[in-house]
Structure formats: structure tokens, C-alpha cells
């Protein structure tokens, strides 16, 4: 039993897959939160501006950010499954 555990540890050490997966999921989490921050900040800017042209541009940006967020969340779900 102990030998099996030892082998598992050695295998984990050499493969580094687990470590890489953890790193990746941390990165994705960070990315999701910065996407959310950007979405919030653009929403605020849309409310603050009176310039229609600028508002239109910001809305386009917002739309893209939402699409990216949706894609990221979907990818995350797929990975969890």
C-alpha cells in the first residue's frame, strides 16, 4: 500500500499534469473576474456619457465582452464535466 502511494507521488511529481491543470483553472478564474470588472466599468461609462456616438461604441464593446464572458463560462463548464 505504502509503495503504491509512493509510486503515485513520484508519478505526480514527474507528470506535473495536475499542477498545470490547477494553474490553468486559476488563470481562467482571474480572467473571468477581470472580464466582469470590465463589463461593470463599461456599463457605468454608458450611463455616464451623453454622447450618442460614444454610447454606441461602448455598447458594441459591452456586447463583445459579454460574448467573451459567455464563451469562457461555457469552456469552464466543459472542463468541469
Amino acid at each position: 500500500m505504502k509503495i503504491a502511494r509512493l509510486f503515485k507521488k513520484v508519478e505526480d511529481f514527474f507528470s506535473m499534469d495536475e499542477q498545470k491543470r490547477n494553474q490553468k483553472s486559476k488563470k481562467v478564474e482571474k480572467l473571468t473576474s477581470s472580464l466582469m470588472d470590465k463589463i461593470e466599468s463599461i456599463k457605468e461609462k454608458i450611463q455616464e456619457t451623453d454622447n450618442e456616438r460614444k454610447k454606441e461604441k461602448l455598447k458594441k464593446k459591452l456586447e463583445i465582452l459579454k460574448k467573451l464572458e459567455k464563451k469562457l463560462l461555457k469552456e469552464q463548464e466543459n472542463q468541469d464535466e
Binding site: F14, V28, L31, K38, K61, I64, L68, K71, L72
Partner: protein
């Protein structure tokens, strides 16, 4: 140039064979000398393994640290010290620093700071040799290192292979020290080199010269230091002469750097001369104050617990102290040194058709090679934007940075620019493209799977850039043809294609200096959304023109075909921007369809 060739020819023809013959003669004469020289050879092989290992093992950390930690001279000195102390190779640090300097990632004063720090860092070799190398049964430590090093080399992971090389290197270094010590001990039975000890300033000059020559021959001050320490602990040389040899080793190492820089670019030459000036000044101070420094070493040794008869450790302390004094004496003059060096070696006017950043010295350092490639592809991109703009009969300064006002710039650009795209391609694209692909292919041989993917993306980006040139060649014919057309509709449609490509180029220009990858991705996505408008059939634009009899059928088919070229050009440019200006791999992948 002729002087360089002359020198190298003399070296090849006479000095090198003579040197080999004298080594062979010494080996024939004395079996003890054979052991010492074999020790030096094994030590040098160890250094080569260690350097190769760190190139693979560091996974880019070393390069990242060197890139961001050189903003001020004191910071750069600290960085140079730590980096060299860890990798035990000032030449590896120099190679990386020269490449960063050429890529304009660090300033010359930062690079000089690293060189200063590297000189202190290299003194750690003397500490390692004097503390471990000559005091314990070194071969017993070397063997497990060699065994585990070889085992790690069998691993598929490049980082483990790198670690394996570092261990093999350390093993050989320790084994080499063991041989040197053994050789000197055996030699003592037959010949006592200590009888050649010399006192006074004549002795100083003779031994400094011997130290310098030994370092020039072995191309490694670390090897000379190892040799001096092993000779010192076996009482083959006296303490004061050992100090003088150490000063000589410091001076000798600059000769190696200067010879190495002869074929280098202006940056390489500047750094080599900075190194030379630093070591000459340091050497001069150490020679003049030799006896005072020796007393200082004795005093500090007594305070920090180094035994009064432990001359090896005292030599290591001397080596460190005189390099620190050198840094203190020379570093305040860094700004003046920068001005002097820039004046001494002026950069040649850059030829846009040739590679600027692809330095063969760093082709085996993955992170630096990737960086050099990226910079060079940006250079290729800039050449391509010149061709694209001129093919559209536009000058970059007339529309870049205009944003929403671009349409006005297009309307007012009515003078045709007669660009021969084939000639331009031959002159400013083809050679550069070939150089990049060649460098990328060579560099990927030593890369991890992850880095190989990056190289693959960069190669695709290059291909996309070249495709845009080929597509714009097709588009150019009808742009020129309809530029003066009396049919305002077809003229307007071709102006529209010019405008959309110009918008893409302008959009990419605005995102180039943005370090927020998410912002860059959003801008790229906005450019992508515009792409579909270029498809004349999908957008229904062509239907309206035909229905209203605004253009002839032949014009319509030309326009449909040309709109596809415009679409492909913009699409390829956007893809190139994604690869070149989004650093984060995750964000890059998020942008992919």
C-alpha cells in the same frame, strides 16, 4: 574587418597548432600535469553542461527577471549578481543581456549594471570551490550528481532534461576540481611550484600576467580560479601570488569578451568595452592596493570566522572584495560611460530588408529566441503595411491615427502610387521572411512543446503577412484602374475597399502599445465585426448596384472578386495582430473562433 580576418588567420594557422603541440608535450613529460590538465578539461565540460542546462531548465524565468529588473543601475547590479551566482555563467548572462539590448527591451545603462553585478556574481565560484570543492571528498558528491543527471536527461520533459544537464555539469565541475587537486598533490612530490614564488611588484606583474593568459587560453575565469585554489590548498603557490593570479583572471576574462564581440553588433561591442573598462579599473585598483587589500581580507576573515590558515576561503573573500570595490568605483560613472560607448560605436543605419533582431547567439535560449522572432515579425509586418498602403495609393502618415476621419483621407488621396509589388516583395519581404522561418525552425529544436506551439503560431502569422502582399497585388490592378473612373459608383466602391483595409491597419496601430490583453482582444473583435461588411454578396451591396444599373456586369464581377481579396487581407492582418500583440495565451485562445 581586414584586421579581424588577419588575426583569425594567424590564430588558425600558427597559434592554435602550436598550443596543441605544447599541451601534448607537457602531457608526454609529466603524468601529474596530465591529471591537472584533464581536471581543467572536465571542469570546462561541466561549465558547458551547466550553461546548456540553465537554458532549458529556467523556463524563461531568468530572461523575465533580467528584462524587468534593470530599471536602475543599482537594481541592475543586484540582478546581475543574483543571476550569475545562480547560473554560474557570466557569459550566458552577457548573451541574454546583449539580445535584450538589441531588441531595445533594456537600456545600455541597465545592461552595464548587469555586467557589473555579474562580475561580483562570478566570484561565488571561488566560494563554492574553496568551501566545498577542496575540503570534502568531492568525487563522492560528483558521482550521484552525474548518475541522477543522466537519469533526468532521459525524461521527455525539457525542464527535467535541463535539470539533468545542470546536475551533470555540477558533477563534472566537482570531478574536475578533484582531478586538479589530485594532480597538484602528486606533482608536489616531484616539482614544487612554490619555489617560483616572487615577491614585490615584479612578482605582482608576472603573476597577474600568468592569470590573464591562463584565462584567455581556457576562456573561463572560473576554471582559472578553480586551478588557483587547488594549487593554493596543495601549497603549490603562495597566498600573495594566488591573489595576483586572481586579479589576472579578472583581466583575462575581458579579453575573451572583447574577442567574442568582434563579430557582434554595436551593442555587443559597447558591452564588451564596458566590461573591459570595468575590469581594467578594478585590476588597477587591486594591483595598487594589493597589500592593503590583503590586510583587509585578513581583518574581515578574523571577524567572520574564516581560519587564519584557510587561504582558499581568504582568496575567495579577496576576489569578492576587489570586485565590489570595482563596482563602487566605476558605477557612479555609468551615465558618462553610456555617452562614451554610444559615441565609440555608432549603430549602422538599419537596413529594413534584413533581419534586425535574429541573433544566432540566443537561438538556443527559448524565451529570448521567441522574443527576437516576435520583434522580427513585427518588423516584417511594418514592411508589409508600407506595401499595403502604397498599393492602395495611400501614405501611412495620411491616415494612421485618424480613426473615424479615415474616409476623408481616402477621398483626398487621389494620386496613384505606382508601386511594383513584385519588386517590393523581393526587396523588403522575401529575404526577411526566409530569415525568420529559418531562425524559427532552428530555435524550436531546443524548445518545450508549449514553446513549439508559440513558434507554430508565429510561423502562421508570417505566412499571413506574406499572403496580404499577394492579395493586395491582385487588388491593386483594379484600384488603379477605377481610381480615375468617370463612374462615381465603382470609384466609390473601390474607395470603400481601400477605406476598410486602412481602418484595419489603423485599428491595429492603436492597439500595438496597449499592455492590457483583454482590451486588445476587444479591439480585435470590433475589427472582426467589420469584416463581414466586406463580403459584397452577403451584405447585399452588389445587388443594389446591379439593380440600379449603377455599374456594368463586368465591373460587378471584378468588385465581387476584389472584395474577397480585401476581406482576406483584413482577416489575415487581424490574425497577425492576435498573435503579435496579445501576450497571454489564454486570452489569445479566447479570441479564436
Amino acid at each position: 574587418m581586414s584586421i579581424e580576418v588577419f588575426n583569425f588567420n594567424i590564430l588558425k594557422r600558427y597559434i592554435y597548432p602550436l598550443f596543441l603541440l605544447s599541451v601534448a608535450y607537457v602531457l608526454f613529460l609529466s603524468s601529474d600535469a596530465k591529471v591537472i590538465i584533464a581536471g581543467v578539461a572536465v571542469f570546462l565540460i561541466g561549465m558547458v553542461f551547466m550553461e546548456d542546462g540553465f537554458k532549458l531548465f529556467s523556463g524563461g524565468i531568468l530572461e523575465r527577471i533580467l528584462k524587468v529588473s534593470t530599471s536602475s543601475v543599482p537594481k541592475a547590479i543586484g540582478t546581475g549578481f543574483v543571476a550569475t551566482a545562480i547560473v554560474q555563467s557570466s557569459s550566458l548572462i552577457s548573451i541574454i543581456i546583449i539580445s535584450f539590448l538589441s531588441a531595445e527591451l533594456i537600456t545600455l545603462s541597465g545592461a552595464i549594471g548587469v555586467v557589473f553585478g555579474s562580475n561580483i556574481g562570478t566570484t561565488t565560484t571561488a566560494w563554492i570551490v574553496s568551501a566545498f570543492g577542496v575540503k570534502i571528498k568531492i568525487a563522492q558528491l560528483a558521482m550521484p550528481m552525474l548518475i541522477f543527471g543522466v537519469l533526468f536527461r532521459f525524461n521527455k520533459n525539457k525542464s527535467y532534461q535541463g535539470l539533468g544537464n545542470v546536475l551533470i555539469g555540477l558533477g563534472f565541475v566537482f570531478l574536475g576540481i578533484g582531478y586538479m587537486k589530485e594532480g597538484f598533490e602528486a606533482l608536489k612530490g616531484g616539482l614544487d611550484l612554490a619555489q617560483f614564488a616572487m615577491e614585490g611588484y615584479l612578482g605582482v606583474l608576472v603573476y597577474v600576467l600568468i592569470g590573464a593568459i591562463a584565462t584567455i587560453v581556457m576562456q573561463s575565469s572560473s576554471a582559472t580560479m578553480a586551478l588557483i585554489i587547488t594549487a593554493l590548498v596543495t601549497n603549490q603557490i603562495v597566498y600573495l601570488n594566488a591573489l595576483e593570479l586572481a586579479i589576472g583572471a579578472n583581466i583575462g576574462t575581458t579579453v575573451t569578451a572583447v574577442i567574442g564581440s568582434l563579430t557582434s553588433n554595436a551593442n555587443g561591442k559597447r558591452l564588451a568595452v564596458a566590461h573591459l573598462i570595468f575590469n581594467m579599473v578594478t585590476g588597477f585598483i587591486a594591483i595598487v592596493l594589493l597589500y592593503q587589500l590583503a590586510d583587509l581580507v585578513t581583518f574581515i576573515s578574523s571577524k567572520i570566522g574564516i581560519a587564519s590558515d584557510d587561504y582558499a576561503m581568504q582568496l575567495a573573500l579577496f576576489h569578492t572584495i576587489f570586485n565590489i570595490i570595482g563596482v563602487l568605483a566605476v558605477s557612479p560613472f555609468t551615465p558618462k560611460l553610456v555617452v562614451f560607448l554610444k559615441g565609440l560605436f555608432e549603430e549602422k543605419v538599419k537596413d529594413v530588408s534584413r533581419a534586425r533582431y535574429l541573433d544566432n547567439a540566443v537561438v538556443e535560449v527559448p524565451e529570448v529566441a521567441l522574443l527576437a522572432l516576435k520583434k522580427e515579425i513585427m518588423h516584417l509586418y511594418d514592411n508589409a503595411t508600407e506595401a499595403l498602403s502604397h498599393a492602395l495609393s495611400l501614405h501611412r502618415h495620411t491616415y494612421i491615427g485618424l480613426g473615424d476621419e479615415i474616409s476623408k483621407a481616402i477621398e483626398s488621396s487621389v494620386v496613384m502610387i505606382d508601386l511594383d509589388i513584385d519588386e517590393f516583395y523581393e526587396r523588403k519581404i522575401k529575404t526577411l521572411y526566409g530569415d525568420i522561418i529559418n531562425y524559427a525552425t532552428i530555435s524550436q529544436e531546443t524548445m518545450s512543446v508549449e514553446d513549439e506551439h508559440k513558434i507554430y503560431s508565429l510561423k502562421i502569422a508570417c505566412r499571413d503577412i506574406v499572403e496580404t502582399i499577394k492579395d493586395v497585388k491582385e487588388l491593386q490592378k483594379n484600384i488603379n484602374r477605377f481610381m480615375d473612373s468617370k463612374n462615381e459608383h465603382i470609384k466609390g466602391e473601390y474607395n470603400y475597399l481601400r477605406e476598410e483595409i486602412a481602418r484595419t491597419l489603423d485599428g491595429i496601430h492603436t492597439l500595438r502599445n496597449n499592455s492590457d490583453d483583454l482590451e486588445v482582444l476587444v479591439k480585435i473583435k470590433l475589427l472582426e465585426e467589420n469584416l463581414n461588411k466586406l463580403d459584397m454578396i452577403k451584405s447585399g451591396r452588389i445587388d443594389n448596384l446591379i439593380r440600379n444599373n449603377s455599374i456594368e456586369t463586368k465591373m460587378a464581377t471584378s468588385l465581387i472578386n476584389d472584395s474577397i481579396f480585401a476581406y482576406e487581407i483584413s482577416k489575415n492582418l487581424i490574425h497577425v495582430a492576435t498573435v503579435l500583440w496579445i501576450e497571454d495565451r489564454e486570452i489569445q485562445e479566447l479570441g479564436e473562433e
